[in-house]
Point group: C2
Chain length 368, copies 2
């Protein structure tokens, strides 16, 4: 067993667990910073270590197109290539093909698409994305899934559920080293409760070491997302990790943990940082705004990160106004630290049976 539960909250679905991977143990619930192109934007691996990142996510679609998975294999795998010693999760490329590429054709066989970089033609099949992820050598791989947009017609969502199940079976079959790389299944079904249940049952039947919930946080209201979690998490096995893909903001992280989610990833933290927006203990602030021009407080006076110990809002605002890279670095560092600390506080609250109270504190400051 690669996952074990250390503690379960008696009042909510929240739990604390340990996920064993080839590059180390991950304590859950966990937030995974996103390193799309073999780098978490602006950060070194040492800085990710400093802020307590346990695992990062990297994107198969991007790495396949550039620099190519074969190059990364030659470099000794993605860990070696980017100098990150801890666990890596790679997605299957499915979501990016549907959102970034010029999509040509989805068939039962796979997806033919054109690169968003140069228009070149490529095909992803379940077997191919497993092969690519084998080359990358990630600790956790994802099955190829069909992602539908929101909103979506019932029949389209239903067809995507069928294909996602068939592709998951083929992924599992073609993955020859399950002891070296964990392969997670992905549940689809858009916002239709019966399709979500059907997808969950079918994917569970295939027996993966972990299960992801895909196709959420794609534009639907948050309440709809929470409702789906409430419907399907209870039928997911207790003893396997549950990963809510592409989520989250501080409010979604606490709401997800309350509903039994163990793993999260999101580009929000790093993306808003590069635009000069940062998380604080009292909500988000846009530090590049004029009101911070003579503000000599840290980004978050209650934060003990490197950035908040050494720099003022006025200085960081200056860096943004002057288009200096250090501004993006400092904001990114702080936002990731803040989020990982938030997960630490969530874990502490679970252990103390106080997650409900703590979630109210977060939701007051972060519900939008």
């Amino acid at each position: 067993m690669s996952f074990r539960i250390l503690y379960e909250c008696p009042d909510t679905g929240a739990r604390i667990g340990e996920l064993l991977t080839p590059h180390g143990i991950i304590e859950t619930p966990v937030f995974m910073p996103v390193g799309t192109q073999a780098t978490v934007k602006t950060m070194t691996p040492e800085e990710l270590n400093d802020i307590g990142a346990q695992i990062i996510l990297s994107n198969t679609y991007h790495l396949y197109l550039r620099p190519g998975h074969k190059l990364i294999e030659k470099a000794g795998g993605l860990h070696n290539f980017m100098n990150w010693k801890k666990p890596i999760l790679t997605d299957s490329g499915g979501f990016q093909v549907f959102s970034l590429s010029n999509l040509r054709e989805v068939t039962d066989k796979g997806i033919i698409f054109r690169s968003h970089l140069d228009g070149s033609k490529h095909e992803f099949t379940p077997e191919k994305v497993i092969k690519i992820q084998n080359s990358l050598g990630s600790d956790i791989m994802m099955c190829l899934d069909e992602c539908v947009a929101y909103p979506c017609e019932y029949e389209e969502a239903k067809a995507a559920v069928r294909r996602t199940t068939e592709w998951a079976a083929r992924c599992k079959k073609s993955h020859t080293g399950p002891e070296k790389q964990l392969l997670f299944g992905i549940i689809q079904g858009s916002t239709f409760n019966d399709l979500r249940k059907k997808s969950t049952e079918e994917i569970l039947n295939l027996d993966f070491p972990g299960y992801a919930i895909g196709g959420l946080s794609v534009g639907e209201p948050k309440d709809v997302m929470y409702e789906i979690l409430e419907n399907i998490v209870p039928i997911m096995p207790r003893e396997k990790p549950r990963y809510l893909m592409g989520v989250g903001s501080p409010d979604c992280l606490v709401e997800g943990v309350l509903r039994g989610i163990d793993m999260f990833d999101c580009v929000l933290q790093t993306r808003i940082a590069r635009n000069g927006t940062v998380f604080t203990s009292h909500g988000k602030i846009v530090v590049r705004n004029a009101e911070y021009g003579e503000d000599f407080l840290p980004l978050d006076p209650e934060c003990d990160c490197y950035v908040c110990q050494n720099y003022t809002r006025a200085y960081i605002r200056h860096l943004f106004k002057a288009k200096e890279i250090l501004g993006m670095r400092l904001a990114t560092y702080h936002n990731l630290y803040f989020t990982i600390q938030l997960m630490e506080k969530i874990k502490k609250s679970i252990k103390e049976n106080k997650l409900k109270e703590f979630s109210e504190y977060v939701l007051q400051r972060y519900t939008t």
Copy 2:
């Protein structure tokens, strides 16, 4: 005395010295990384410490326009504002006014110019730039000088020498805290030997704790620059530091030290880094080029910096191709480390009376 000579090479003009400043002692010859806008582009102060930077240069013109010297004064000075504890040298703003702004008028009183940022109108006088640098709180300040372009008419260069001397006298007079901030004089005279001598004599007469040679490395052939150094350095006092402004490349650093220069600054290292060009022990390489796509060597196999110990050319090339900020960070870190190490090797060679041999090694690899 703020400067003392520890060792002089018997065969060349090279010497090793110590310059005492309010924020610490600088061992010379020294290369000063440039932090134009209160940040050495892409780097944190801790990283500058790691690579052995002893002093950085920051630009008065830029800081005056944005965020403004008054804001920096409110922040407790430039050291506090940017979180750099070691010495800082600020230039006078003269060079940037002549090269960046929309210049309106130079009179004996000062320079009226328009900001390159928003076209707003400003005036720099000798008294004003001292006041600005007092607000910044730099360890070493520079006198306002008139910089002429290359090539330049004799009469124009002559007028600039006269004004530079007059302005230097006014700068000295208006600087009320010489014990808190060292004020250096600047020698002008374009490429005319008699004007260079005249400027040197006039500036020396004003008695500054250090002397800079300005108006070089502005497009003239390197031989012309070296000839000027050979003509004026011998009439400069032995017991004062000599600073060659805006220089250099590895070849110019060794050529300058051979001719008795103690201090250098240059944006070359950080600028070419951001374009994917790095220094190595065997000359420059453009790591973003296709030939490094599958090159798993470090940037410089003979370098022991953080970057060369942890990353390959193939990875750094990928970062540049993917427009990832980490690529610029790693190349900048390496180029600055390489240059500071070069200065260490130059100092070692001076102590061992081997600078001539070492300079030939460098010039073979870096003369362009």
